[in-house]
Every structure is written in C-alpha cells, then in structure tokens.
C-alpha cells in the first residue's frame, strides 16, 4: 500500500513538476491553462489507448490517424442526413470496418503490421478525400460537435479508459495480447493462437479509433481529409504518450492512467513552449531532448539495477 502511494506521488510529480517549471518561467502559462491542456490531451490519449494495444502485441501501427479521419469523414457525411445518430453510427462503422479490414489483411498475408498500416493509411486517406469531395473537408453543425467538445470530451475519454482497463487487465484477451507481445513462440507452445490474438488486437483498436474519430471531428467541428501521408503525423503525439506510459509502468501498472499522464505531460510541454514564444524548430528540439532524457534515464536506471542484481548474485555464489 505504502509502495503504491509512493508510486502515485512519483507519477503525479512529473506533470506537476512540468507545470511548476513553466508557470515560473512564463506568465502566459498557469492555472488558466489547465482546461486547455486537459481538453487538448484527450485526442492523443484516446488514440494512445488503441496504439497501446498494438504496441503491447509488438505490432506497430501508423494508420490510426488515417483510420480516425476515414471514420470521422463517414460520420460527418452521415451526420448531414441522420444527425447525431448518423455521426455516431458513421464513426463506429467506419472505424470498425477499417480495423477489421486491416486485421484480415494481417491474418491472410502475414505481412508486418507496420507495412500493412502504411498501405491502409494511403488507401483510407484517398477514400476519405473522395468522400469529402472537392472542398477537402467535412463540416458538422454546432449542435452536433458539442457532444465531443470540452468538457464532454473528458467524459468520453474516461469511458474509453474504463473500457481499456477492462480489456487490458480484466479480460483474458488482454493477458494474451501482452503474452504474445512478450514471447510469441512460448505462447504458441502453450497453445495460444498468436495469429488469432493479433487479429483480435488489431480489431480492438477500432473501438478506440471510434472514440478518436468522434473527438477529432467534434474538436474543430470539421474533419480535414488530408492525403500524401499527412495523417501519419496524427499518431506521433499518441506514440510519445504510450512510450512515456510504458516507461512509467514500473511505478504503477495502470496503463490508462499512465497514458493520460503521458498525454498531459506532452500537451503541457507544447503549451509551455507556445507561452514562452519558442519557434516551431526549437519546440521540436526541446521535446526530442525531453524524451531522450526521460527514456534515457529509465534505461540507465534499469541497467544499474541489472548490474546491482548481478553483483549481488555473484556475492551470493561466492558466499
């Protein structure tokens, strides 16, 4: 219990520390920034849930952004005729269809998931652009986008987090995904059908892609059907969130909370940079350095631990 409390304190210390640093450095950052940070974190966090499933199964996916845009475009188009129901149904059908199609391709052809994800990304981008028509984007009316705007977006992400927690920690499939990700051969020897597990893992990302699609189209009231692999950039922030979450996992094993903390930290850094008036290039450099320092310190500490364990083991043998 004491350990858990300490871990939670350590976890909270990271975003809290970043918040204090930026608050001291600039007047433009402070308590008034919190609602913006919370609101802006929601899309990367919910996309991160989907990516965490993929990454846990040792699969890499760059198509989550494209799939969300594709689903949101279907939702946006359906919303023109069927209102709220059309928006939700369109986003759900689009995201699930996209995920199932990707899973089927993976199961049938056994091509690395990263390669498939780039292939489907290109396809979904073009399909979304065709659906969006000559304007290149789909707009939804104000009364519809309110369902995914602040503070409703936080409620949606909490629901998604609960679902993710149940899938990841309380269901057999969650354990199977982790096991397959850790050692596929061993799982096969134990009778776990690794291909089936990976198929389900990819399909499950469709659920979080649905939430991501809803939040993305509601955030600005429109969705841009970008082509030329531009949607790939939509997964960079979520990937950072998941990497940070996986690093923090040694403190507390609760991925939804960790991804949320990762999302808050990354968004806070971006907002802090803007408040400090940093240029775009400098923002990228400092963010890169931040990730290297945080992840590098993790690697160094685990190396130190290993060395310590080896030394202790040697001592034990000698004794």
């Amino acid at each position: 219990m004491k350990k858990t409390i300490l871990a939670v304190i350590e976890l909270v210390a990271l975003p809290f520390g970043i918040f204090i640093i930026f608050s001291l450095l600039t007047d433009g950052f402070g308590a008034h920034s919190i609602p913006i940070i919370l609101s802006q974190s929601m899309i990367p966090v919910v996309t991160g849930f989907g990516l965490a499933i993929m990454m846990n199964a040792e699969l890499m996916d760059f198509s989550m952004g494209a799939r969300a845009v594709f689903a949101a475009t279907i939702g946006g188009v359906m919303a023109q005729n069927y209102g709220m129901l059309g928006l939700i149904a369109g986003c759900f059908i689009g995201s699930m269809a996209a995920a199932v199609a990707m899973a089927v391709i993976y199961r049938l052809f056994h091509i690395p998931a990263m390669v498939i994800s780039i292939g489907v990304l290109l396809i979904y981008e073009v399909l979304a652009a065709k659906m969006a028509g000559s304007s290149g984007y789909v707009k939804i009316p104000a009364e519809l986008y309110k369902i995914g705007s602040y503070p409703m977006n936080i409620i949606i992400v909490v629901l998604a987090a609960v679902l993710f927690y149940i899938l990841f920690y309380k269901m057999r499939i969650g354990s199977h995904i982790t096991a397959v990700g850790n050692d596929e051969k061993m799982c096969k020897n134990l009778g776990i059908n690794a291909d089936r597990v990976k198929f389900i893992a990819i399909t499950l990302t469709g659920i979080f892609c649905f939430f991501s699609a809803i939040l993305t189209i509601c955030y600005s009231g429109s969705i841009t059907a970008s082509t030329d692999m531009q949607t790939m950039s939509l997964v960079f922030k979520p990937i950072m969130c998941v990497i940070l979450a996986r690093h923090l996992r040694k403190l507390l094993d609760c991925m939804p909370l960790l991804i949320f903390i990762g999302g808050i930290c990354i968004t806070m850094i971006f907002n802090g940079f803007i408040a400090m008036g940093f240029g775009d290039a400098l923002q990228d450099i400092i963010l890169g350095l931040f990730l290297i320092v945080v992840l590098g310190s993790s690697a160094a500490s685990s190396e130190l631990k290993k060395m310590k364990m080896k030394r202790n083991a040697k001592k034990g043998i000698t004794a």
């Binding site: 600039t26 433009g28 950052f29 008034h32 920034s33 913006i36 609101s39 802006q40 899309i43 845009v69 652009a129 000559s134 304007s135 290149g136 984007y137 707009k139 705007s149 993305t216 955030y219 600005s220 009231g221 429109s222 969705i223 841009t224 059907a225 970008s226 082509t227 030329d228 531009q230 949607t231 950039s233 939509l234 971006f270 907002n271 803007i274 408040a275 008036g277 240029g279 775009d280 290039a281």
Partner: protein, 409 residues
Amino acid sequence: MRRKLMAGLLVLTMMVGGLTGCGASGKTSAGSDAATGSTAVSSAAVDQSVQGSSAAKETTAKKTANKKPYKIAVGLPDSGSTMFSLMSNNVKTFVESTGGKVVFQGGVGASADATIQFVEDQIAAGANGIIISPPADSVLPTVSSMCEEAGVYWGITFRTIKDQAIKSQIESSKYYVGNCFEDEANTGYQVMTNLNKLVVKKIAIISQAKGNTTTDLREEGINKACEQYGMKVVTEARSLTQASDATSATESFLSAYPDLDCVFIVGTTGTGMHEAVAKAIKDAGRQDKVKMATIDFPDSMVELFKSGMLDTCSGLPSWGYDPFMITTVLANKCMGTPISETPVTLTCSMFDISDTATAEAWTKKFGEATTLYYDKDTMLKTFCKSNNKDLNADFMEKSIKEFTENAIK
C-alpha cells in the same frame, strides 16, 4: 513441392517483369502513338467546338491543330478542393485544345525527394514538358540536369528562385522556360499593413515549415512590416494538417497571450483550417478582440466575413491562374513556337478582400470549379504564339495585370 512451384512462379513473374522493363522504349513510343491518337480526338473536339461559329475561329483551331502533339506533367493535384479542380480544368482546356495531353500529380512539392521522383517518373513516362512547384532552390540543379539530359522542357510555378547562383545556372539551360510566381513578400507586408490599420500589434502566425519558399517569403514581408509598424509575431505553429490541430494551436495562443490581437494564417496545405481557427476564437469568447487574417482565399471566405470572424485576406484572383500562365509558356515551347528565346519571369500580384460584398463577388466567379479564366477560343487566339505574333513575356505580364484588375468585375 509447393515451395518449388511458388519459386518457379516468382522467377517467371520476374522474367516477365524484366522483359516488360526492357521494352520500355517501345512502350514509350506506343505511348506517343496513344498521345497522337488522343491529339486527334482533341483536335477534332476543338474543330467541332469552333466549327460554325466563324471562319476566323476555324482557321485558329486548324492552325493550332497542325502543331505537333505533346504531353505536359504538372506537379500539382487536380482535385481535393475547388481551387485544384479550377486550376486543372483551365490547364486541361488549354493543353487539350492545342493538341496536347496533361497529367497531374499531387504531393510533388512536399519534399526534394518527391520533386525529383516526379521529374524522373514523368521523363520515363514520355512527358515533353514538366511543371513543378519546388520545395526549395536546392532541388533545381538536379531537375535541370535531368531535364537537359532527357531533352524535356520545364518550368516553375508558385516559386521564385532566391539563390542567385542556382538561378543563373538553370537560366542558362535551354530547356528551362521560366517561372510564374506571386509577389509573396509584398503580400505578407500588405496584409500586415491592413492589420496595422485595424490597430493590431501582437500576432500569432500559422504557417508552413521553415524552408518552404512561399511562406518564408511571406514571413519576410511580415517581419518587414513588424519593424516598420512596431508590430510583433509573438508565437507560431507550423505544418498543421488537420483542422483539430488548428483549433488546438489557436486555443494555446489565446490561453498563453491574453493580449493577442490577431491570428494570421500565412499559409497552409490543410483545408478547413480557417473555420477551425474561427471556432477556437469564438469558443474562447474573444471574437471582438482577436482578429483573423489570411493569405489565399479560403472556400468559406463569405461565411467567415459574414460572421465577422475574418477581417482581411489577400490572394491571387484565382490560385490556379499562376500554373495556367506558365503552362501556356511551356506548351508553346513544346509546340515548337516559343514565346521567348530566354526564360521568362512572370509575377502575379495579389489583391485584398476585406468585405462581404467583394468576397461574394469573388466566390460567385471563382468558387466554381468549372469557371474558365478565358473561353476556349480566346485561349487559342491569345496564348498560342502561332495565332498571336505579339505573344511574349511583356504581353503575358500585361495579360496578368488585366486579369487581376478585372477579376471580380
């Protein structure tokens, strides 16, 4: 056994692929034949459209139809937004009316690699002329040497050449026909002057990544205005591709700078960005204090002016007019009737829209993808050297000026 069969099948596929590859030149000539065929159709179409109207028109079309067939590749998308479709319709109308063929490809200007790849591909596909919008000057010497080697004419749209050494190098090539570009720096300066009149002092910009020739020049103009009028660019966001990113960036600007006066969209490739910025300003309840400005007219300009969210914008009368003009220069060269022996440099000036009525007039004319800058007959009579002996760089500049002045009349 199955593996052996599979291996055999793969070897067979590779051999067939190899044979097809070896037959490339044959295929190119076949492509040429096909192009000739399409030319015949196009010429017939031109003849048909012109027939019966007047004898002069008939002569014009026949004169043009006698020209050798050619193929032009344009490194811009032909669909995805109204401005792309409008541009491609006009370029297609001119090229096909003069017995040529045109292909479009998007994403070419995104990187140096994409530009070189496009030029390579189009040379291999048998293009006689290529138009690019290069991401940076550094790519131009490579493009020039590739085109020179292949004997393919080429021109630049939307971009000027900042590096003087590169400029003189490529201008010495007989395959380079010239460039058409917008006065970007002056446009940036002009929008800032308009904003200064609206008592704007602190500005946040949304722009492309550093190194993009267009937005870099626009920002040069912005910086010049900042020095002159005591204005300041306090923050920036770059390379936004999704509307939600624009909303998010604007929220951050507004949160970090309570005294922010304006969000200026200097350049973006994403659609729906302007509405996304407007939504963020409105949601923050700052629409009375924070102004919005942009370069290039968004599709939703009228709506934004009506709602009072957009204060000033500047752009070409039509985005596609610039590639259209350089296409006419390149097409004449490909047809063997160059408008000039030396490369031409054409400058398109932009103009401001700051009220709903002008925005409506503009949208009525250029908000439709089917609008032609000139009717087909005028295109043939005016922009074909074989029909218009006066056609030269000065004539082109004069035409651009007239078009800009009469754009929304």
